[in-house]
């Protein structure tokens, strides 16, 4: 198969040759590797790559992926990182409007009339930059001879991949991993990986989040080797029965084996090292292990995030360990009883915050140190829940929340705000994904990848279908997907608020944004059908957060009011050198000659962009502590 540039115009093409999404488990080749936390089966490709920037697709170096291509005039760029922050393209912040507002006239393919296929709308645009990346690498010795996959953890916004001149695949969905099988083409040494990243594609209509609009390979890239037996996917389903305090564990495993035979041994240990479950079975491609009653278990929750360690040992027919998979799991329930959300049998109160991934130096390419700071900040201020607004976060974030006991509303990478709200008014004359058949599979794929990647994290208590994407059949189908795949968690979507036709059909909770306390009261006093949460409230732009008390008091007055998520965690601003003094200063939307812009609307955090707490945090800490 050859790559086709028209895929970026076509909403029906969003993954080509991509491997199915799977759980985010780590895997080790030996027990010793597990002890040291360093897997010989993984090779990072992060670092300096060769790079060429083109203003649009027509002037890109089309044949740069070929083995004999002379890349002498390519620059060097750091992967991961945003192309804009490397200085190639303008930083641009805009809230709801699409980033081409005032520059290009665009309507989504098939949105106004069936005949509008959108062909050329991105591939022939005069301004739609392309980043052409080349990475030369040798396969590390321990991985040679094995099946090799490549994993891109986040590439914005559409990507074509080649290895050694051969086309490998195509991917969209900037915020979930994209994986491809490189085995047919990989060499032990002298490999040339070519990645062509397009700034905008039809995916842009689905990724209209309120943030700086970047592109590029902004999360890590790695190779991983699959030994003779490899755990492709795992769904560890812990069940907790609140009344008896007992647990069950069901394991659904997908394995790939080069040779027949072998065993899987599953061991579950508590934090004290006691073995709670131990099972061994013959390997099958798909298998299910069910605990035979674990007895009493210690539940996981905010303030007491008790985790069990699940260890899977995969042995070949000769009894040699091929792979070891550790995973931290927790037991908890999340359910709605009598129109109130309960977690482990107690009424849930969400003292939450929305969090964009943000670093004033690195944009959304946040580091683990920054994530750890964020977790500690949430803990010391009694923040018990985070909404991953508005896309799946970097993989380590979820395990950190499991460990810290922070509840996650895990949001699918979907926002089409500019398609249905214009000049501040609901105006859905054209909107996506709506009920347009040609946009259905793209959003379902986003839901699936999101779910499959993160399904094992105990901290996730809500799947959120996306943010501010209006309503239609396609959103409903996303909900159906989550409902069928995972009956153990709740489903969240706010967009039905703007069109009540789907009010009963979508979302387990009544979720609103920025509703004043009086409007919440009104809802709760008129025979409400669902518990109420605020997926965004207390807009902390600049010096704000006045009146938190009035929301917190609703928790005392209405059992069905269950809290919300402050907007938001951290100001989005960028360290920039002052053009007058040369000093490092924080700049925001519009400061880069980027127009149109929404300027300082990017800065609504309860912490400043440099990760110092705003004075308002004192109030958050007090009330979130009082109502913990």
């Amino acid at each position: 198969m050859e790559a086709d540039i028209r895929w970026i115009d076509n909403p029906e093409v969003f993954r080509v040759n991509q491997l199915p999404a799977h759980s985010d488990h780590e895997f080790y080749h030996t027990t010793e590797e597990l002890l040291h936390g360093k897997s010989s089966l993984v090779q990072s490709l992060d670092g300096q790559w060769q790079f060429h920037y083109s203003i649009n697709a027509s002037v890109r170096p089309v044949s740069f992926y070929k083995k004999d291509f002379n890349a002498a005039d390519f620059d060097w760029i750091t992967v991961p990182g945003h192309i804009e922050l490397a200085g190639y393209d303008k930083n641009h912040y805009i809230n709801t409007m699409y980033p081409w507002e005032g520059h290009e006239f665009r309507r989504p393919a098939f949105s106004m009339e069936a005949g509008n296929t959108g062909e050329g709308s991105f591939s022939s645009a005069s301004w739609n930059p392309v980043g052409s990346y080349l990475c030369r690498f040798d396969l590390k010795e321990g991985m040679r001879g094995m099946r090799i996959n490549i994993r891109f953890e986040g590439v914005e916004q559409a990507m074509y991949v080649w290895l050694n001149g051969a086309f490998i695949g195509y991917a969209e969905d900037s915020f979930t991993p994209s994986e491809f099988d490189l085995s047919p083409y990989i060499e032990e040494t002298g490999n040339i990986l070519a990645v062509e990243v397009h700034k905008r594609s039809t995916a842009a209509f689905l990724e209209d989040q309120d943030f700086f609009r970047f592109f590029g390979i902004f999360r890590s890239v790695s190779l991983y080797a699959r030994p003779g037996i490899h755990l492709e996917d795992m769904w560890a389903k812990p069940f907790y029965r609140v009344e008896e305090g007992v647990g069950e564990l069901e394991l659904e495993l997908k394995l790939s084996c080069i040779k027949q035979g072998g065993t899987v041994r599953a061991v579950l240990q508590d934090e004290e090292g006691h073995i709670c479950m131990e099972q061994e079975e013959t390997i099958k491609e798909k298998m299910k292990l069910v605990s035979d009653g674990l007895g009493k278990v210690t539940p996981w929750e905010y303030g007491f995030p008790y985790l069990y360690t699940l260890l899977l040992e995969l042995r070949d027919a000769d009894g040699n360990i091929q792979e070891i998979v550790p995973y931290k799991i927790g037991f908890r329930t999340i359910e709605i009883c009598g129109r109130v959300i309960f977690l482990n049998g107690r009424r849930l109160i969400l003292n939450g915050v929305n969090r964009h991934e943000w670093s004033a130096r690195r944009g959304r390419a946040v580091t683990e140190e920054e994530m750890d700071w964020d977790i500690r900040c949430m803990q010391r201020n009694h923040i018990n829940a985070v909404r991953t607004c508005h896309y799946p976060n970097q993989i380590p974030w979820y395990a950190k929340c499991d460990k810290a006991g922070i509840y996650i509303m895990s949001e699918t990478n979907l926002e089409s705000h500019g398609s249905w709200q214009k000049m501040g008014a609901v105006e859905p004359s054209w909107n996506v994904p709506g009920s347009i058949p040609q946009w259905r599979e793209a959003v379902l794929d986003r839901a699936r990848t999101h779910f499959e990647t993160f399904k094992n994290h105990v901290s996730i208590i809500f799947w959120s279908l996306g943010n501010e994407s209006y309503v239609g059949e396609n959103i409903k189908l996303m909900q159906d997907f989550f409902r069928q795949s995972d009956p153990t968690r709740l489903i969240h979507y706010e967009g039905v608020f703007h069109n009540r036709v789907y009010g009963d059909a979508i979302s387990d909770v009544e979720s609103q944004m920025y509703a004043p306390p009086g409007r919440i009261r009104e809802y709760l006093e008129h025979n409400p059908s669902k518990p109420f949460i605020l997926c965004e409230y207390m807009h902390n732009m600049g010096n704000s957060l006045g009146g938190l008390k009035s929301y917190m008091e609703l928790l005392d007055q209405y059992e069905m009011y269950q809290g919300g998520f402050i907007w938001d965690f951290i100001d989005q601003a960028l360290w920039t050198e002052d053009e007058v003094t040369g000093e490092a200063v924080l700049r925001y939307g519009g400061d880069f000659d980027d127009r149109p812009s929404d300027y300082e609307f990017s800065a609504n955090g309860i912490v400043f962009a440099d990760r110092t707490e705003k004075p308002a945090m004192q109030e958050v800490r007090y009330y979130y502590g009082k109502y913990r």
Binding site: M541, G542, S544, G546, L548, E583
Partner: protein
């Protein structure tokens, strides 16, 4: 500083009123309309004559909910105003002929136990509103300031009301008894009571400079300075002045910038070099709001109705 029993010296100038005692010397000006000089233990504490203040640098919420357009008239009222009347009272008696040439009847030996100077200001709003500020000085040098805003129908809500004291140099810090952190009427429940020392004059680093650093429910605040602008004065020891609440506690902010300087900047780095101390002793503060930043106002209880009177008082003494 107290020298109980020693009466105040009064200097009836042609255009000013000097009031002197042991360790202090104050000058009221009929030209600038208020307290032009406040020297305590040899150090000048005023850069310009203090005036009522009606404006806070717009917060993002103020901009978003249209408050700065609906109440923007108070910005000009804050910058420009007229002093329309003044009075001088000694020991409970109003002095009649106090400016030239009427003051020729004085001898230079006048003394009193209590001197009171009253200044009345008229805002440039339409309709105008009046503010009466009285300074009562006792033999100890203690100044009791009584501020009365006369409510006026037909005016938009106020962002803030108080007195603004600009000091000639930047303070080294301030200490206050009140609430921890930056507090506002609708964001102060999380604060703890205590005595807090703030080093320097920090400006909260909001991305767009805006009103900041307000401390609600304050019993007293002391401002400490070491530098003066007096070319003959080599002494740079730290000394302080104290503002104490009288009756109800006040709110204050102590920043190196005026509301207008903050208002003008779109980034922190555009603010001028901090070189003075701007102390606002506030009798009323509008809430911040927070429901959203594009429409909702602060809850009604946190608005300041310009049709209603505002009265508050405080005292100025040397720091303890």
């Amino acid at each position: 500083m107290a020298n109980i029993g020693e009466k105040l010296d009064i200097i009836y100038g042609d255009a000013t009123l000097g009031v002197r005692g042991h360790g202090f010397h104050y000058i009221f000006s009929y030209l600038t309309g208020g307290l032009e000089s406040m020297v305590i233990q040899g150090k000048e504490w005023l850069y310009r004559t203090p005036r009522p203040t009606f404006w806070r640098a717009s917060t993002d919420n103020d901009r978003g909910n249209g408050f700065c357009t609906s109440s923007g008239i108070w910005l000009s009222a804050d910058m420009f105003m007229n002093c329309i009347r003044y009075e001088v009272w000694t020991d409970g008696k109003m002095e009649k002929r106090i400016t030239a040439p009427g003051n020729n009847h004085f001898t230079g030996k006048e003394k009193a136990r209590v001197v009171k100077a009253i200044f009345v200001y008229e805002t440039i709003t339409v309709p105008a509103a009046a503010v009466e500020v009285s300074y009562q000085i006792e033999e100890t040098g203690k100044i009791t300031v009584r501020v009365h805003y006369c409510g006026q129908n037909g005016l938009p809500e106020l962002p803030v009301f108080g007195m603004r004291f600009v000091m000639p140099t930047k303070a080294v810090g301030y200490r206050y008894k009140g609430l921890s952190g930056e507090t506002y009427p609708d964001r102060m429940d999380g604060a703890k009571q205590g005595v807090y020392y703030i080093r320097g004059l920090p400006v909260t680093q909001y991305l767009v400079p805006q009103d900041c650093g307000v401390h609600m429910e304050t019993e007293w605040v002391e401002i400490y300075r070491n530098k003066t602008q007096d070319n003959s004065m080599k002494n740079t020891t730290v000394s302080g002045v104290r503002f104490s609440a009288l009756g109800h506690k006040f709110a204050f902010s102590c920043l190196p910038f005026t509301a207008e300087e903050l208002e003008n900047a779109t980034h922190q780095e555009e603010l001028p070099l901090p070189r003075r101390t701007v102390v606002s002793i506030l009798g009323a503060v509008r809430g911040l709001g927070g429901i959203d930043s594009w429409g909702y106002e602060p809850e009604p209880v946190y608005h300041i109705d310009a049709a209603k009177d505002i009265n508050y008082s405080f005292q100025i003494t040397a720091a303890e």
